[in-house]
């Protein structure tokens, strides 16, 4: 898909909230934490984000 855009003349991509691109594989409960959504640690900045 990205190559398709490159071929169309696009020169770069904006990676919006790329830290959320991978998630824990199972739908498990997150631990409530003040000030954050429960389960943030299950979807944000997992090791696979860094390829």
């Amino acid at each position: 898909m990205m190559n398709w855009w490159v071929d169309r003349g696009v020169d770069g991509f904006r990676m919006d909230v790329i830290n959320l691109i991978s998630k824990a594989p199972e739908l498990v409960d997150g631990e409530p934490a003040p000030g954050t959504d429960p389960g943030t640690s299950l979807v944000s900045s997992l090791p696979t984000v860094r390829g």
């Binding site: 998630k23 498990v28 409960d29 959504d37």
Partner: protein, 344 residues
């Protein structure tokens, strides 16, 4: 006043904009356009040939840079520019798209671009240069204006690019429907373009979408939502921005003018019932958990449970959505986790 119409009107505006804006004294606007296009294409085609020649290895975590490591040799005729960059006069023939900078005819395009850009640490104010094809960057002596530019690494343009990002819905409306659109961007950019801008980011939320989440919910990553225009409009905008970048003669730092960044989005549209299975593409969770084990302590940004059951499937299935309930979050590397259709 006649409202701009898409397609043809854009091309008319392109001509008018370039003609009226081609402010170099003594140079016909049309000729200036060709000159500028020549220079820009020398850069862009050079990079594209590198990307394509490397077999499109894909974009890895270190970004576009890796795309551009390969080399392909491409021999094309040099632009028949004047013999001296400092000599006034006309070229034997107008520059054509694909021409290399003057004197670079036997080099590959990336080499040509790099050679011009690697000439020194200071860039010449392009307004004082008179060469139609060689003004990629630091190509002449006696600099009159300097920029801190990584001139020896044109591939790294993005490290110093000044990005101009707009919100498409409210930026410029060309057809009076109350929503900004791509033709509006085109016109507005042409009129108000700040010269220090080197990258345009305007269509990051223009994908085809049911607009359940203001365009963040994408139904087709390879199409433009009719609200904003068409793919043809986008092509015109991209081409126009490239031309405009070349036309910018100062403050652009000698970088290739690289435009428009679509988003690799945070959510993928997944319509329940669309596929008949209640899961759709991009379902991140393994959705066959019994209802009793469905997580309840995960929420999306909309403060709704980050799960959703299928009303069409006999088995209770759930998927994760981090934002709109109508947009399931794709899982990296999982079949169906790629939201776009196959490349055509």
């Amino acid at each position: 006043m006649r409202k701009p119409q898409r397609g043809l009107a854009l091309r008319e505006l392109s001509w008018v904009g370039l003609g009226a804006g081609g402010s170099e004294p003594g140079r016909a606007a049309g000729t200036a356009d060709r000159d500028l296009t020549c220079r820009d294409r020398a850069i862009l085609e050079g990079e594209l040939s590198v990307r394509r020649g490397s077999g499109n290895p894909g974009i890895r975590s270190d970004g576009l840079r890796r795309l551009c490591r390969g080399r392909t040799r491409r021999v094309r005729p040099a632009c028949p520019s004047r013999t001296s960059r400092r000599t006034a006069g006309r070229a034997d023939r107008p520059c054509r798209p694909g021409d290399l900078p003057h004197g670079q005819g036997t080099s590959s395009a990336p080499d040509a671009a790099r050679a011009n850009l690697a000439h020194g640490d200071q860039c010449v104010d392009r307004s004082v240069s008179d060469d139609p094809c060689g003004r990629i960057g630091c190509v002449t002596s006696e600099p009159t204006q300097t920029h801190a530019v990584p001139v020896d690494r044109p591939i790294d343009w993005w490290k110093s690019a000044v990005v101009y990002q707009i919100y498409p819905r409210s930026f410029a409306d060309s057809n009076g429907d109350g929503t900004g659109d791509i033709p509006g961007m085109y016109v507005a950019v042409w009129i108000t373009w700040p010269r220090w801008v080197s990258m345009w980011s305007g269509c990051h939320r223009c994908y085809a979408s049911p607009m359940d989440d203001n365009g963040y919910d994408i139904s087709d990553y390879q199409d433009v939502d009719p609200l904003f225009g068409t793919l043809e409009d986008l092509d015109v905008l991209i081409a126009g921005l490239h031309e405009r970048g070349i036309k910018t003669r100062d403050g652009s730092g000698g970088q290739p003018h690289l435009r428009r960044a679509p988003v690799v989005h945070r959510v993928a549209r997944s319509r329940l019932g669309r596929s008949g299975t209640g899961t759709g593409g991009g379902r991140p969770g393994r959705g066959s958990s019994p209802a009793a084990r469905v997580p309840s302590r995960r929420t999306g940004s909309r403060r709704s449970p980050a799960r959703r059951g299928s009303s069409t499937s006999a088995a209770a299935q759930y998927y994760l959505h981090l934002f709109s309930p109508e947009a399931a979050g794709p899982q990296l590397g999982e079949p169906g986790g790629t939201p776009a259709r196959s490349t055509t």
